[in-house]
């Protein structure tokens, strides 16, 4: 079971941003997407995650095996750190809350309200959610925003452990994670050239 993307074209707000995107990620591999702001990394990841339909091409991925993490962490401020993770553990029917707390050194904060955490701690909680899901394919958008150097190393270790269990990761990031084994794909080469398609429905609605 691999993640295979073939000849994919994606659009944001009706404007094609990337076309002809193709890559494959096999079990135990990580692929890092790079490119300047606005090139369409987020749109590409949302399309891979199935949140929006592709303009053309196909995404070969069993969505039941995928977990997605976007820019926002989906943290509820009035729930404690542990309650936040328990909710996702119940949704994904796993029991990896303690493992996730340990992986991102959140055990000491487990009973604190998530709203009282710092930005970096919230991000760590958001990343811990990925461990909780137990899904083999991680699709993550800018996972290291507001993390300090130690936390980035924590994240790299978590990704490495995930890959070691036969998992896959597709990440969009600007910084060096220290994951030497990960392949890097510059999405700038796929920039869409075609003008916007004549979208009657869009204009009408």
């Amino acid at each position: 079971m691999d993640l295979v993307v073939t000849d994919l074209a994606v659009a944001r707000g009706g404007v094609p941003v990337l076309e002809g995107v193709g890559f494959a990620v096999a079990a135990g591999e990580a692929l890092i997407l790079r490119g300047p702001n606005g090139i369409g990394k987020t749109t590409l990841l949302r399309t891979v995650a199935g949140l929006q339909p592709p303009l053309a091409g196909r995404v070969g991925l069993d969505r039941e095996a995928m977990a997605y993490a976007g820019h926002a962490d989906g943290i509820k401020a009035t729930l404690s750190v542990r309650e936040n993770l328990i909710f996702w553990a119940d949704v994904f029917a796993t029991d990896r809350v303690d493992a996730a707390l340990a992986a991102f050194e959140l055990a000491a904060l487990a009973d604190r309200l998530a709203g009282n955490l710092s930005a970096g701690q919230k991000r760590r909680l958001g990343l811990a959610r990925m461990v909780v899901t137990g899904r083999p394919v991680w699709v993550m958008d800018e996972p290291t925003v507001s993390l300090d150097v130690d936390a980035v190393a924590m994240f790299a270790a978590a990704v490495r452990a995930h890959l070691g269990q036969g998992g896959m990761a597709l990440l969009a990031t600007h910084i060096d994670l220290g994951l030497e084994e990960a392949r890097v794909l510059d999405v700038g080469q796929f920039r869409a050239r075609a003008p916007a398609a004549d979208d009657f429905d869009g204009a009408f609605l």
Binding site: R63, A77, V91
Partner: protein
């Protein structure tokens, strides 16, 4: 599904969840009515069922935009959409959680407020029964409206404009059932119609809400 229900109930009843907001609004509306129409018991007891129904409906409307807006803002909606939970189930659970934190308290508060409006003694059971049958429809229709307007900045007003016309059938039959009950007449027909509307919305609207939500998440 149980996890989502528990989480939403917990969020609704914790600080900032807006649990008491609808109830307080209901109370204020009902208290204001005698100031507006005069304190004569005879006149109040005639309009009591209608006022109580209208007050409950408006109180319900007040909390609708919270159903999805908070989950949209903090990104949970994207994460829920990519989770194993089907969108239709998530939407239904959200509607149920809304009813449990808003509709049910309104049903329980209505008889107390009925005293303030000197509702006739035989009117209490029909009032509670009609609200119990009708308020789930308000939550389900409201969830559809919330799904339509999710992601819009300050979509609350648009939400009210969209949802209020859809509330008309529920209000007509609900208030009619309560009024007939208060006047001691047979109210089986409006109650049955009300139950039919509620069952119909519960059966059909979650699918529409889920479809709309998927489009809005793009």
């Amino acid at each position: 599904m149980k996890a989502l229900l528990i989480r939403d109930l917990r969020l609704g009843t914790r600080a900032g969840g807006g649990f008491g907001l609808g109830l307080a609004f209901f109370l204020i509306v009902v208290v204001l009515v005698p100031f507006g129409v005069g304190p004569e018991t005879g006149r109040l007891s005639v309009i009591a069922p209608g006022i109580l129904w209208l007050g409950a409906l408006l109180a319900c409307l007040l909390s609708l935009d919270r159903i999805f807006a908070l989950d949209w803002e903090d990104g949970s909606l994207d994460l829920l959409a990519t989770s194993p939970l089907p969108m239709e189930a998530a939407v239904s659970v959200k509607a149920l959680a809304h009813w449990l934190t808003t509709g049910l308290p309104l049903v329980l508060a209505a008889p107390v407020l009925g005293i303030l409006l000197s509702l006739p003694a035989q009117g209490y059971v029909p009032l509670i029964l009609s609200l119990l049958l009708g308020t789930p429809a308000l939550s389900v229709v409201g969830t559809f409206g919330a799904a339509l307007t999710v992601g819009l900045k300050r979509g609350g007003l648009l939400l009210s404009l969209l949802v209020l016309p859809l509330y008309v059938p529920t209000l007509i039959f609900g208030a009619e059932a309560a009024r007939r009950g208060a006047e001691g007449m047979d109210n089986t027909t409006p109650l049955v119609m009300l139950a039919g509307i509620t069952c119909g919305t519960i059966a059909l609207l979650p699918f529409a809400s889920a479809a709309v939500l998927r489009v809005n998440l793009r």
